[in-house]
Symmetry: C2
Subunit: 586 residues, 2 copies
């Protein structure tokens, strides 16, 4: 395995051996370790001293189920802290096939420029090779136009990562885009503005051709295979992850009705926990709408090769043509309930625009919600929302402002109801109605992030027990355990959705650990999971503290402490001492 | 003396006795003590829990020379930390005459509204009285129109404080405006966005009619008189502060040529320390230009009754009519050299617009510089700069963005050369060319602020010795001493410009202390000055730390560490340990 460094100051690259400290890490463990070790915490995120690190997970590129995740990490332009944002795409699998443990993009050209880094396998030399090619023909364009052009130029078998207009403009809400299974620009390391970190180094796309590459080395194949089978069995058995189960049928948007029922679906910029139009934006409505428009039932598809959960959906126009993929729960909510919009066609168009420009749908929806609160456009006006997102693609002054994210728009318009933590927009779970996820939002090193410690599993879904979502009791310890376990899962390269199955089915959990042991030759037990996860979190936390993001930033926005949320009329009542305990006790 | 509280939630008021802890404080000492004690550090600056505190200095309202300062304090929308911003105006003297030690504006109406608080002296009751009157007729208008209307309504003898359009829009760059000697809207607590804190409480103006009010009680008149005379003598003797001396002749803009010569005049968004057009924007050019246009020499005037330094100038149009007052060094630089603009007529118009809308000229110039760097308009284009400031008054999307200040504009446009500390734009001294002032910018509780510890005195002006501006040696201790002394001076109600005289003339320093002893009945010696100042700073620091602004924020922006500044080609090379020592050693 290699550490591959691209120095964009002079467009050179070098290969380094993997240091012992990174040998048994992958994904988030690798990105956060390198950012912690090499990036000055007080650097400007778009300046020459930030670095963008890509790392496939430990088992990414193997036959492990649902393990096609790629982690991207850097100092975030959105939060000012460390960021890891992972996505499912064949791109990470291609990178792993080149035996690259970490791809580090560093340095900055003195003149603004746009380049493609083309990674291939140098068969005679037995190592990866990089060439840099001008990318100006792809600049200023819709990613739905650009991706086919890239595939035309580099061949049908390549994988593509890059940024869109949002990154070119330097938006704090600019994701890194990866190809999906149909070579479309729809898979995202969405959160934290990493697309702008890429663009600020003069890099527009990273194209990987893994032809002839050796693939991932597995230290103990039989151990790996045994683990893989245990995990596959668990995923195929669990109601949420099994074929034609909840996720495969309705997608992640199955959660819309569930959270709405629980009074925890943030509505009209977090002014209510229930949306009267929820049902028409839910996974069930997507499934039924597609059935009506296509004349047949459509189950969901994989985001990357080898995923057996297959939760990615597609929304179709009235004429049956594809409108967009995919309408996730988070996207449907952010651009739906949070904006008071109840039309799936409007929501689909908003998502399509986010994909076209390279924007995070959660941050975009959060931003529109605050803009609506400020009176820029009315709540519920889908056509006006579409026009605002189009302005983001055009780079008008208003578009640039919106591209800077929710907190900045709140600041510019003097709004006090701004649902962010550490500068990042909250996802689709109301912390006043689901206290544990609020603790995760408040304390995560990532800013408000549901995936950092998804306590929704026990608080709402009854996975690994069932807890009262309105009670703060015991939730700090719960969030801590989930955050540590998640940091481990994010390092394996598995999709976080394996958590449903492995938390309920012990052999599935063991299978995940055994897969890692098989690849690495380690002898980890279940007990190592939280330990390894906590070590990663401690590095992230240390980075943030040195960047000036200490425990005073582990707090909910003030309005959630004095505005009771309908329908439960609860405020966020988790005491500060409980919030502080989450990281103090690692 | 009273603590007068205006509760804007229901437009009531109450009078409290002054607690012992505030008895011997004034100005900044009072505002920072109350903000520290009563404002939750993590509150939203524009939300219901912030408070805006006004406090005249200890000797404000007496015959002490140059003592008409009023301090305004709150949690700042610009920096997120504590803010004290003082101005010279008869308004503070009127407030002192009502025997109000602190006016605390608190609470927030549930419905947006605009009110005038009318403060008078209730002669029979022997205490201040407040009435609240609708202010809607003054909303959305130029302050040059509104002030005459207020004087027409409330009488020629009143004093006025309030906010302009900038505050109504909630800009982080919205100052609090006070009347000048001609009842114009030209005196400002400019920094930190306090105008928006006022407006967010539904308060548009505070009009004071001190008719019949008893004035300031002086405990020991002869001691006061003795001190006063010593200070007057020092001010009349020192070259900088004497009549027809530097400040009285050329105004503060006398510094333009001096700093340009020293290579420390930030030019075109802090990309150089020398501006080829400096001379035509300097105090000498103002004096000569006025002479030419008026046909006579024009010396400067006082900003408030009883000032004997009299540094406020006026700029006139070619036809001899008044264009604006006043063209300060900071304003001339921010809207001049920092934007590459060398026309005093353009600069005057930009200042006039800032006064009309209620904007801080320093933050406005910093913002324009970064917008120019981002390519929004070209450097040096005065007409385009005027159009941008007009947009700030109109509240267009771009105008609102610009109203949010330099750091936010830098963020929205992805600019890495953003000259701010703790979110506040740097004033007119380049920290790479004058290291001590850089330490003040970095470590001050206020964000980048020259008035917080004006080491320019010894580093550039040769006041209290002469130090090498390029050397970082000993500058941490220097900044610490200046910051503490300044906190004391800001509490007395004296203009900071007395510092030139009192640092060079020992009897002047003693006079300042004796004036305070005379008013309060205390027995302070010179040694108490730094002690009292340090106590104020420690409260401010504690507030900031609880607001999440710790020592990691006591840093220069990163570009100043790697971009050498012409002409000296120096970077900011003060080590972090020296920066940390400033507050660690109080």
């Amino acid at each position: 395995m290699w550490i591959l460094r691209l120095n964009m100051a002079d467009r050179t690259y070098c290969l380094e051996e993997v240091p012992e400290s990174l040998r048994n890490l992958g994904g988030r463990g690798v990105t956060s370790s390198i950012v912690h070790a090499e990036v000055p915490p007080l650097c400007h995120p778009l300046g020459p001293n930030n670095k963008l690190v890509f790392a496939p997970g430990i088992v990414t590129g193997t036959a492990a189920p649902s393990s096609g995740r790629i982690s991207a990490g850097a100092k975030s332009p959105l939060t000012g802290g460390i960021k890891e944002s992972n996505a499912g795409s064949s791109w990470g699998q291609h990178l792993a096939a080149l035996q690259v443990k970490a791809l580090v993009v560093e340095g900055q050209p003195s003149e603004k420029g746009h380049w493609v880094a083309h990674l291939t396998w140098d068969v005679p030399a037995g190592r990866p090779r990089v060439t840099f090619e001008p990318a100006s023909e792809y600049v200023g364009k819709d990613l739905y136009e650009v991706f086919p052009a890239l595939y035309k130029r580099y061949g049908a078998k390549v994988a593509v990562a890059g940024c869109g207009l949002a990154g070119e403009f330097g938006y704090a809400n600019a994701g890194i885009v990866y190809n999906d299974m149909k070579d479309g620009p729809t898979r995202y390391s969405g959160r934290g503005g990493l697309g702008s970190v890429l663009a600020s180094r003069g890099l527009k796309f990273i194209v990987i051709d893994a032809l002839g590459a050796p693939g991932v080395t597995i230290a103990d194949s039989s151990r790996f295979e045994q683990g893989r089978k245990m995990l596959v069995d668990a995923l195929r058995e669990h109601a949420i992850t099994k074929p034609k189960g909840g996720l495969n049928t309705y997608g992640t948007a199955i959660l819309i009705n569930i959270l709405n029922e629980a009074g925890g679906l943030p509505t009209r910029n977090f002014s209510s926990g229930r949306f009267e139009g929820a049902a028409s934006t839910a996974g069930e409505a997507i499934f039924e709408g597609n059935k009506q428009r296509l004349g047949r039932e459509l189950y969901n598809h994989a985001c990357s090769p080898g995923c057996i959960i297959q939760c990615s959906n597609t929304w179709h126009r009235p004429d049956g043509s594809e409108h967009v993929s995919c309408v996730e729960y988070e996207s449907s909510w952010a651009l739906g309930a949070n904006c008071g919009i109840d039309s799936l066609d409007d929501i689909a168009e908003l998502i399509r625009l986010c994909n076209a420009y390279g924007l995070d749908t959660i941050e975009t929806g959060g931003t529109l919600g605050v803009a609506m609160e400020a009176g820029v456009i009315p709540f519920g006006d889908g056509a006006a929302a579409i026009r605002l997102v189009q302005e983001m693609g055009q780079g008008t002054p208003l578009g640039r402002l919106l591209g800077s994210g929710t907190e900045t728009v709140g600041r510019v318009y003097g709004v006090t109801r701004v649902p962010t933590v550490k500068g990042q927009s909250m996802p689709a779970y109301e912390p006043r109605a689901v206290k544990g996820i609020g603790i995760t939002y408040a304390t995560s090193t990532m800013g408000a992030d549901h995936t950092a410690g998804y306590t929704i599993a026990p608080e709402i879904l009854g996975v690994s027990g069932k807890l009262d979502p309105l009670s703060p009791e015991g939730k700090a310890a719960l969030s801590r355990a989930f955050q540590a376990t998640t940091a481990f899962i994010d390092s394996t390269g598995h999709c976080l959705f394996i958590a449903f199955a492995i938390l309920d089915i012990a052999s599935g959990f063991e299978g995940m650990v055994e897969e890692c042991n098989g690849v690495l030759g380690t002898s980890w037990t279940n007990d190592d999971v939280v330990r390894i996860g906590a070590e990663i979190l401690k590095k992230e936390r240390a980075f943030n503290e040195a960047a000036g993001i200490g425990k005073e930033k582990d707090r909910m926005p003030e309005f959630m402490k004095y505005e009771p949320l309908p329908p439960h009329n609860q405020v966020f009542d988790v005491p500060d001492v409980a919030l502080d305990s989450v990281y103090a006790e690692f």
